[in-house]
C-alpha cells in the first residue's frame, strides 16, 4: 500500500509499504478515506521528537471504513465507517477506566523509554515516534487499529468525512484545553496560537460559557478565522502582548490562558531568539517562549491550560510566577475519548462544522509538498486533508 513515511529531518516520502495485518485478537484494519497533517506532525518533520526512524509511517488523524476485524472485536464489523482517536487505549486499565485515556498503561510496547525519561509512560499514539509506541500511522491506505472496540467511533451515514475527521484529534484537543480551564460565567480566556487546536479551543471556550475569548497569533489568515469563531484578536508582532492583555482586561488579566503553540514557539523578544539558538544547537528540544508569556499574563489564581506539545527540559520558565500567583496548571495529551460522542452530537445538530479550518484538499501523493507548505505557513495554509485514493 501507499503510505507517508518519515525519511529524516525535513523529509517525508510517499513509499510503497506492506499492507497491515490483524495481529492481536482485538485489532481491526481500517481503509483510510481521509487523513490530515497535524501541527504536531511538524515537530516530527522538524526533527524535534526523538526516536523517529527512517521509514516510519506518519499520521494520527484519520478515518475510514473497517475492512477486517480480529476474532475478539465485538462492536465493529467490516463496512462500518469510523473515526479513530489518536491515542491507542486498552479500555481496561485503571487509567482508561477513570477516563484518563491518553495515560493508558497497556498499549505502548516502548513504555520503558518514556519511563526512563519521565518516570512513567502513557498511551501509545498512532504514527508518533517509537517513544510513543512505534505504531504505523494513518497517512496511508490502510491502518491496523488495536483495541478496535475501545476508541473508534461509528459515524452515521450522511455526515461527510470532512465534518467528522477532526474528532480524531484537534477538535477534542481544543475542547479538552477549554474544559481544563474550568470556565465560569463571565470568564475571559486568552488563547495563544490560532492553528487548528487554538481555533477549536476558541470555539470550545465559547461553548463552555466564556464571556470573552482573546486570540493571539501573527498570521492574518489565522487571526481572521479566530475572529470568525468569536474571538477578539491580537497580533503579537504589532503590540506588547502582556501590556495589551492587562489593559483590555481592566488590569485584571485573563482568568485562563491556553498555550496552543507548544515547543516550537516563534517570537520577537530576546528570550525567543535565545531559544531558537539553543534549539538549533540541539541543546534543548523546546522553545518555551509562549509558556513564559502565559505564566506571566494569567491572572492571580487563574488556570493555565497547555494543549501544545512539550518534549523535555524547559529553560528560563518563571515557575516562581506560577507559584506566587497560585496558578493551576493543566496539560497533557487530550483524553479524546471523553469528548468524541459529545462533539459528534454537536456536529449532527449543526451547532458546528469543524471543516471551517481546512485550507488544502489534496491526494496522499502530495504529502511531501504539503508538509513543506504547512511548515512554512505558505499559501495561507492552516489545515491539510489528504485522500489516499
Amino acid at each position: 500500500m501507499k503510505a507517508v513515511c518519515w525519511w529524516g529531518k525535513g523529509e517525508v516520502r510517499v513509499a510503497d509499504v506492506p499492507d497491515p495485518e490483524i495481529i492481536n485478537p482485538h485489532d481491526a484494519i481500517v481503509r483510510v478515506t481521509l487523513t490530515a497533517i497535524c501541527g504536531s506532525d511538524l515537530h516530527l518533520y522538524d526533527g524535534y521528537v526523538p526516536t523517529m526512524m527512517r521509514g516510519d509511517v506518519l499520521g494520527h488523524e484519520f478515518m475510514g471504513e473497517v475492512v477486517e476485524v480480529g476474532r475478539e472485536v465485538k462492536t465493529l464489523k467490516a463496512g462500518d465507517r469510523v473515526i479513530v482517536p489518536f491515542p491507542i487505549c486498552c479500555g481496561r486499565c485503571w487509567f482508561c477506566k477513570t477516563n484518563q485515556w491518553s495515560l493508558c498503561d497497556n498499549t505502548n510496547p516502548n513504555a520503558w523509554m518514556l519511563e526512563a525519561l519521565n518516570g512513567y509512560g502513557g498511551a501509545a499514539l498512532f504514527g508518533y515516534s517509537h517513544l510513543y509506541g512505534g505504531y504505523a500511522g494513518g497517512q496511508a491506505e490502510y491502518v491496523r487499529v488495536p483495541f478496535a472496540d475501545v476508541s473508534p467511533l461509528k459515524i452515521p451515514a450522511g455526515l461527510p468525512d470532512e465534518k467528522v475527521l477532526f474528532l480524531t484529534d484537534v477538535f477534542p484537543t481544543g475542547y479538552f484545553a477549554a474544559d481544563n480551564c474550568n470556565i465560569k460565567d463571565g470568564d475571559t480566556v486568552a488563547v495563544w496560537g490560532c492553528g487548528p487546536v487554538g481555533l477549536f479551543s476558541i470555539v470550545s471556550a465559547k461553548m463552555l460559557g466564556a464571556a470573552r475569548v482573546i486570540a493571539i497569533d501573527r498570521f492574518p489568515e489565522r487571526l481572521r478565522l479566530a475572529q470568525q469563531a468569536g474571538a477578539e484578536i491580537l497580533n503579537y508582532e504589532d503590540i506588547n502582548i502582556l501590556d495589551q492583555l492587562k489593559d483590555i482586561t481592566g488590569g485584571r488579566g485573563p482568568d485562563a490562558c491556553i498555550d496552543a503553540v507548544g515547543m516550537e514557539a516563534h517570537g520577537t523578544s530576546p528570550d525567543a531568539i535565545y531559544d531558537r539558538v539553543k534549539q538549533a544547537m540541539r541543546l534543548t528540544f523546546d522553545r518555551p517562549h509562549v509558556l513564559r508569556q502565559v505564566l506571566q499574563a494569567c491572572r492571580k489564581g487563574g488556570t493555565v491550560s497547555i494543549p501544545g506539545v512539550y518534549a523535555g527540559f524547559l529553560d528560563k520558565v518563571n515557575f516562581g510566577a506560577a507559584f506566587a500567583k497560585g496558578l493551576t496548571l493543566k496539560m497533557g495529551q487530550a483524553h479524546v475519548q471523553n469528548y468524541t460522542r459529545l462533539l459528534l452530537e454537536k456536529i449532527e445538530r449543526g451547532e458546528i462544522d469543524p471543516s471551517f479550518i481546512i485550507t488544502h484538499r489534496v491526494s496522499l501523493d502530495d504529502a511531501p509538498e504539503m508538509y513543506r507548505t504547512f511548515r512554512d505557513k505558505a499559501d495561507d495554509c492552516i489545515k491539510v486533508v489528504m485522500r489516499p485514493s
Binding site: 500500500m1 503510505a3 513515511c5 525519511w7 516520502r13 513509499a15 509499504v17 506492506p18 499492507d19 497491515p20 495481529i23 492481536n24 485478537p25 482485538h26 526512524m53 527512517r54 521509514g55 516510519d56 509511517v57 475478539e72 486498552c90 479500555g91 481496561r92 486499565c93 485503571w94 477506566k97 498503561d105 497497556n106 498499549t107 505502548n108 510496547p109 516502548n110 513504555a111 520503558w112 501509545a124 517509537h130 509506541g133 512505534g134 505504531y135 504505523a136 496511508a140 491496523r144 488495536p146 483495541f147
Partner: protein, 242 residues
C-alpha cells in the same frame, strides 16, 4: 528497586596459592622497577608494590569490582544462591485483577513463558512441586535447570529455587498484595541468581542489552497486559523499511 550486586569490603577474594604468587612476582617487579631509576621504572615498581599488598592481604580490588573470587566456597545447604552472592532483582507492578486470579495464573508455571520472554519453556513435573525450566542464555545460548517450590501461601506468595547441582543457581519469589482503593493487586517479584559466567557474565549480558532488571520489569509489564486486556501489545507495523 533495581538490581543490586554484592561486594563485601575487606573480604578475602584471592586464593592461597595465588597470594603467594602475587607476593613473589610483585617483589620481583618492584626490585626491577626501582633499579631502572626512571618514570617508567617507578610505575612498574608501584605496580609491584600493589601486587605485594594484594598477596599480603588477600584482597584484590579488581576482583572485587568484577565480583570475582578465587577463594574456594563453602556453600550452605539451605539457600541455592548464598547470601551476598549473585545478582538480585526486585520489581513490582499493579494489575487490575484479584490476588486469587494472579496467584492461580502464576502457580501454573507453564504460563510463565507467555510473558517472560527469556523463558523458552517450563514443564511442571508430576506432583506439581518440581518443574523443569529452559531459558535463553546470553548470546543465543540456552540454559535449563530443575526448580522446586520452597514456600507457598495460596493467593499470597510463591517461592521457588533451583535444586542442588543446577547449572544456574537461582531463587525467586512472587508476592500478591491487594492494592488500596480497589486498584487491583500489587505483584512483587524478587529474583536472585548466579549467572552462568558469574557477575562478569551479568555485566557482559547487560552490555549486550539483556539487563536482568529490565527483563523482569518488561516481563511484569507483559503480564499486566495479558491479564488486563487478554493480549500483549505489539507495534509490529508496516514501514518504509519493509
Amino acid at each position: 528497586m533495581a538490581e543490586e550486586t554484592y561486594n563485601r569490603a575487606n573480604e578475602r577474594n584471592v586464593s592461597e596459592p595465588e597470594r603467594w604468587g602475587s607476593v613473589i612476582f610483585g617483589s620481583a617487579l618492584a626490585a626491577y622497577g626501582l633499579k631502572k631509576r626512571s618514570i617508567g621504572g617507578s610505575i612498574v615498581a608501584a605496580l609491584g608494590g600493589v601486587l605485594v599488598w594484594r598477596g599480603a592481604t588477600g584482597q584484590c580490588p579488581i576482583y572485587g569490582g568484577l565480583g570475582i573470587s578465587t577463594v574456594p566456597e563453602h556453600q550452605g545447604q539451605q539457600v541455592s544462591v548464598p547470601y551476598g552472592k549473585g545478582v538480585r532483582v526486585e520489581k513490582a507492578v499493579t494489575i487490575d485483577a484479584t490476588p486469587e486470579t494472579l496467584y492461580t495464573f502464576w502457580r501454573n508455571f507453564e504460563n510463565l513463558p507467555r510473558f517472560m520472554h527469556n523463558l523458552e519453556s517450563v514443564e511442571v513435573r508430576e506432583g506439581g512441586q518440581r518443574s523443569h525450566w529452559v531459558a535463553k542464555g546470553p548470546i543465543g545460548t540456552s540454559v535449563d535447570w530443575e526448580a522446586e517450590i520452597v514456600n507457598e501461601v495460596p493467593n499470597e506468595l510463591i517461592g521457588w529455587r533451583s535444586v542442588e547441582g543446577s547449572k544456574v543457581d537461582n531463587a525467586g519469589s512472587v508476592h500478591f498484595t491487594e492494592a488500596p482503593g480497589a486498584r487491583g493487586t500489587q505483584v512483587k517479584v524478587v529474583l536472585r541468581y548466579d549467572p552462568p559466567a558469574g557477575k562478569l557474565g551479568a555485566l557482559v549480558s547487560r552490555i549486550l542489552g539483556e539487563d536482568p532488571a529490565m527483563q523482569v520489569q518488561e516481563d511484569l509489564r507483559r503480564l499486566k497486559m495479558l491479564i488486563e486486556t487478554g493480549e500483549i501489545a505489539t507495534n509490529e507495523s508496516p514501514s518504509g523499511r519493509k
